[in-house]
Structures are given as structure tokens and as C-alpha cells.
Symmetry: C2
Subunit: 207 residues, 2 copies
């Protein structure tokens, strides 16, 4: 199970989201083609992904929802769980904290940080916001491993440096500023404009 394709990881996360919804609805089993339809991919793709993670069922009533969730958790989660922090408690930062809160048991947004003294030392969207000057201290105290950057674009580079120096191992960058980090830090970047432009391109093609 050592070398899963990056794409598969992304899909596993998506499957789990769907499976958790099924679980909440009391659905105990799900067919590969059901999962496939919900994710707009083929059933073979789903079966292959599931094969890769080593889960299988002898049943012909589909996969056991609960069991599959557990196997995916084995892949993605760590036993102790991981703590993340949001840097920049503005509109987007708050939306992310609110959204995320309580969604996963092994992944927590444990703190936020902001330079704005109005925000620092308050609880924002249910999570304590610390002043940026406390970054190193709090990252160590709360064992924060992942930083989510939602500061203005011009501050992204310096914030990323601070995060790396504080010992963080993964960064999720939502600003439009491209970042660079050392080899031993994993970086993921997302820009809504790219998503929207993809939609625009395909809308144009369909016309």
C-alpha cells in the first residue's frame, strides 16, 4: 500500500465524504456503480481504487460502507490525528474554519492566526485566533502540522516562510501568490479562478 497514485488519494477522500453521508442516512452497503455515478466516474475506476487499497468484499451486495470508511481512514488518517491552523482570519479563513469544524475526527483546525489586533486573542468561528507573534510558540504547543494560508496575496510569501520555520510540514495555499517550500514540506495550491476559467472554457466549447 506504499505507493498510491496521487489521483487515487484525491478520489478516496471524495469517496469517504460520500460514504459518510450514506452512513448518516443508514445505508449500509453501496455498489461500485453507485459510488461511480455520484462522482461522475466509471465503476471500474472505483473498483480499481478500492482494489489498490486492499479492501475487498465477497458479497455481491456492494461494499460495506462502514468497513470501507475504516479502510480509507487507515490510508489517509494518522492514529493521533493531525492539527491544522488557518493563517489570516478574514472572510475566507472564517468560511474554512466554519466549514471544517467537526467534519473529520482525525483532522482538526486547532487555531487561527492574524496580525490584526482586533482579531487576535478572540474566538473566531469557534476557534481561538492568536496574534502572529505567537506563531512559533502555539505551533509547538498545539502540535500543528499543517498551515492553511488565507492572508492577502502580498503577505503569502513571508507567512509561508514563517510557517516553514515554525516546523510545519504541509501547506495549503489559497492565495494567488505562487509559493516555494523546501522538499520536506508538502505544498498544495488552489485558485478558484482556475476552476472558474475551466468552467468558462468548457461552456465556450459547448456553445
Amino acid at each position: 500500500m506504499n505507493k498510491l497514485p496521487e489521483k487515487t488519494i484525491g478520489r478516496l477522500s471524495e469517496y469517504r465524504r460520500t460514504l459518510l453521508i450514506c452512513l448518516a442516512k443508514g445505508k449500509t452497503h453501496i455498489f461500485s456503480h453507485e459510488l461511480a455515478n455520484l462522482h461522475h466516474i466509471t465503476a471500474v475506476q472505483v473498483r480499481r481504487d478500492i482494489m489498490l487499497i486492499g479492501y475487498s468484499t465477497t458479497l455481491k451486495k456492494g461494499y460495506d460502507v462502514k468497513a470501507l470508511i475504516d479502510v480509507i481512514a487507515q490510508i489517509i488518517d494518522t492514529d493521533e490525528g493531525l492539527n491544522a491552523a488557518v493563517i489570516g482570519a478574514g472572510n475566507l479563513g472564517r468560511a474554512i474554519i466554519t466549514y471544517f469544524n467537526g467534519k473529520r475526527t482525525k483532522l482538526r483546525i486547532a487555531a487561527s492566526f492574524d496580525v490584526d489586533t482586533e482579531k487576535a486573542n478572540r474566538v473566531i468561528a469557534g476557534v481561538k485566533c492568536y496574534p502572529m507573534t505567537d506563531l512559533n510558540k502555539i505551533v509547538k504547543e498545539l502540535n500543528i502540522r499543517i498551515g492553511i494560508i488565507t492572508v492577502p496575496p502580498e503577505d503569502a510569501v513571508s507567512v509561508a516562510e514563517n510557517l516553514v520555520n515554525s516546523g510545519i510540514k504541509g501547506i495549503l495555499n489559497y492565495t494567488s501568490t505562487p509559493l516555494s517550500v523546501p522538499q520536506n514540506v508538502y505544498l498544495e495550491e488552489y485558485d478558484m479562478i482556475t476552476s472558474l476559467e475551466k468552467v468558462a472554457y468548457f461552456v465556450k466549447q459547448k456553445k
Copy 2:
């Protein structure tokens, strides 16, 4: 130029973002390896993408930033431009509107919609917010082609239906509810949790 790989489209959008920053800084030419480094990919990849869109330069001083921006615009943009609307003017909706405003000339967030009567008929983040009951009328009036869904997850399905019925051709779904749309509508979905879980997985691997 009819069949560009989907991946290339995403990268072209990203290149343009970087090129616009270069332009603003007064940088007139850029090497393939510079673009590559900024985007954490190889220079060959950049050259191949640029080859695919039919741009080339005889110069050995890199690509002409302005010219390349124009070629990418030819691919992604339409002459008249496209209008989008945000459905659900909450935290995320507002963050998106604020972020997007004025970033692109051919892609505009022309309206937002909300059921909350407090929000409807006000200007939120610089864009007028309409009541949901006006959806059909305004979509036609303002020629809105793309809908960005940022309502609570339980409302996503019905909102998507309304959007499709109103004649929209592309949907960008930010809720955690998987949607289904007719063939002639392009759907893009994004869930932050998946991004964060990818980071978590790779942080775990590196340990």
C-alpha cells in the same frame, strides 16, 4: 486547436495568472524554465503546453509576456465575456465575490442571490444580491451563464436544478453535496477537505 487536454487548460489559466503578475511588474519576457519553477513543473511541460496552443517565439529571450497572455485569452475567454453569479451570499460567497472582482476582464461576477431577505436587494461585496425568486428573470436580463453554488449543503441540489432550469451552462459547486446535471451543462466541484486530506496524507508519508 480544438482538442486541448483538460490538464493543459488548467495550467494555461495558472500561467496567465503568473504572466499577469509579471506584466504588472514590468517584466516583458519569461523563459519556459521560469514559468516552470513558479508552477513546480518542468520546463518541457510548459513548452509543450505552449506548443499546443500554437504560440511560438523565434527569440531566445523567452516568451513575450503580453503576447502569451493574449494567446491564452483567445483560448479561454470569449470576445463578449461571460457572466457568473454566486448563489448564497454567506461567508464563502462573499469571500469569492471580493476575491474575484476586477481580476479578469472577460469573466465577471455580475450578481449574487440569497433567500435571506436581509441580504436580498442589497449590495454585498460590491455586487448586487437578488432574492432567489428573481433568479430566472435576472439570469436572463444579465445573461448569466455560470453559477457558483455556496449555499448550505442541504440546499445544493434544489439550487442546482433551479440554475439548470434558468438556462445556465456551467456550475461550480463548492458545497459538499455531489450534484448531477444534464450533459449540456459543465460541472466542476471542489471540496477543501479533499485538498486538506491530500496534504495530510503526504505529511503522513514524509514522516
